[in-house]
Symmetry: D3
């Protein structure tokens, strides 16, 4: 077991949500779960040169542009734990309107809205 | 004429390069040149909620993921003027390897390398 | 407020549906709502050189190719108000089969079918 | 009527499922149904140079990369009838993680899981 | 040999250019050449419900959005023979700025510019 | 150093070409070179469940669909070393015509043709 990857996931998702997500991945495909944990969380997200908040925002930009709903939802959750505000996440998605098209931005905002609502609290950009 | 857009382009590209780029767009399509200057530079890039350096990095992420070589090249140039380091630009592209695929990362690194070389100076991530 | 954008949306969606859509965008993100209304509807859709029916069809083609379900649904609604027939919308989607792949065409036809059914009436291509 | 296309669909989906799928396509668009049957099933899938199992796997790879859920679901069904095992389908999707991004792989695994569950039986990769 | 496809290619490209393009496809892959001629040109482009000019413009929109330079170049050539003006082609590409992103529009305008220049004559949108 | 990754690259590219490619990646970004070698070559390509020939073909399919020219070129080279014939590579690309669009297939065939020509010898599909 790669402790660095598990720790990173807990850090970015909280212990309970990290366990939930990893269990879902493991049911789906144990090999996928271990590649995500060991390589993606343990090696890529642990890299230097970019703080976690910026790393989250660039990932959100790419996933909104590519149209990957599940990965985008999870990365919006992680971004909030990594110190990005709702305004910054909303603004990253707005920046996608002229670069990936307004419809890609719209799809991203709908997913961000779901995540924000599930967490309750104040308004967003 | 939208002064805000022209000013923003000069700020992000330097006066000489901004003039060069705008002239190329104007020759290509005067309407495209004015939409880019007035809307994209003057309205979108002038928005609050995200500093210019982060805005550059999220844009680079999206363009590497989507595979748009000309837009990516220009945004890497602007990112350097917006305060992003070569390390941060390289790291943003590396983050694309697991999110948009290693080949998308590779294409992006080749373009970043061209820009960095044309500016001379030290190594990158 | 940009009257041209609001008028254009009303023209292309009918007053009631335009209000509904704008309210949903405003709840999601007031800034997105105003960019869509002022720039996308008020500036881009108001441009010359292409009639609204053709503009709708080229937009439908792009959104089917890119796989943007919400934007595609709305643009199919607008296309009908812009004078495109069900046959022309269906044919535009069929043209995507060899250019963006049969599965992209299929996803588009499913969305067109939903819109057509919600409006009742006759058959389509 | 193109008998080769109908036969090919029956061969790859079973008679009952082939009829069901063709009826859904015909309701959606008779022209789409006939293009899929005659050209896609009857001409492309009947080509030499690649056995049906490999042809299924390369198609699954492309559709997972492009994010086309309906086409992917159907091709996973067909792959199982074309002799691909659950392990091989799962592995093809895992191979997409570094080439199209982990989130594209995840979306594909979720769809494969639905198909596998609807068929009952043992585990997958 | 499918005469309808060959005729359609000649109609849309002129005899000389059609021969040149077909010879290049045949050298590349005889099977690709025959699928393009018989299915794409002979069946799809020969379909009713959309005039050739509109069919060209929706195809240009999709190929600019997807980033396919060779197919886009050829379709811009064909669009001019199918009755689309330079203004309409330029406007179709501008419409892509908010729907597929400004960088996709830029790439498309660069290719249109090459085609227009190779034909000489007046200005474009 | 990960010997498994280096060995795998040598196995799939030949020693000389593997060294050449790794040196180019290292110059571009030492971190990219090591992620490709250790993770992509050493972990992903070393996985079970899919033979190297099939793994190459599904990768070629995805990269042609996504439009990644450098990754596609390299994977066509590796596919030949992994036991895929020119006919099988050409057929995989033809299968992309109806699934990712004829223009994506065309771009892929052009790249395959370059690789085949650089190796000399007989015809392809």
């Amino acid at each position: 077991m790669n402790d660095k990857g598990t720790e990173m996931l807990c850090h970015m998702l909280g212990e309970e949500r990290a366990r939930e997500v990893r269990e879902a991945w493991t049911k789906l495909s144990p090999d996928f779960a271990s590649l995500v944990t060991n390589f993606l969380a343990g090696e890529i997200w642990a890299r230097p040169n970019l703080d976690l908040r910026t790393r989250s925002l660039v990932t959100i930009a790419a996933l909104a542009a590519l149209g990957r709903p599940n990965g985008l939802r999870l990365n919006i959750e992680m971004a909030l734990n990594n110190g990005a505000t709702r305004e910054e996440i909303g603004e990253t998605l707005l920046q996608m309107a002229p670069y990936a098209g307004f419809p890609a931005c719209w799809e991203g905002l709908l997913i961000a809205d779901e995540v924000f609502k599930s967490r309750g609290g104040g308004p967003k950009a």
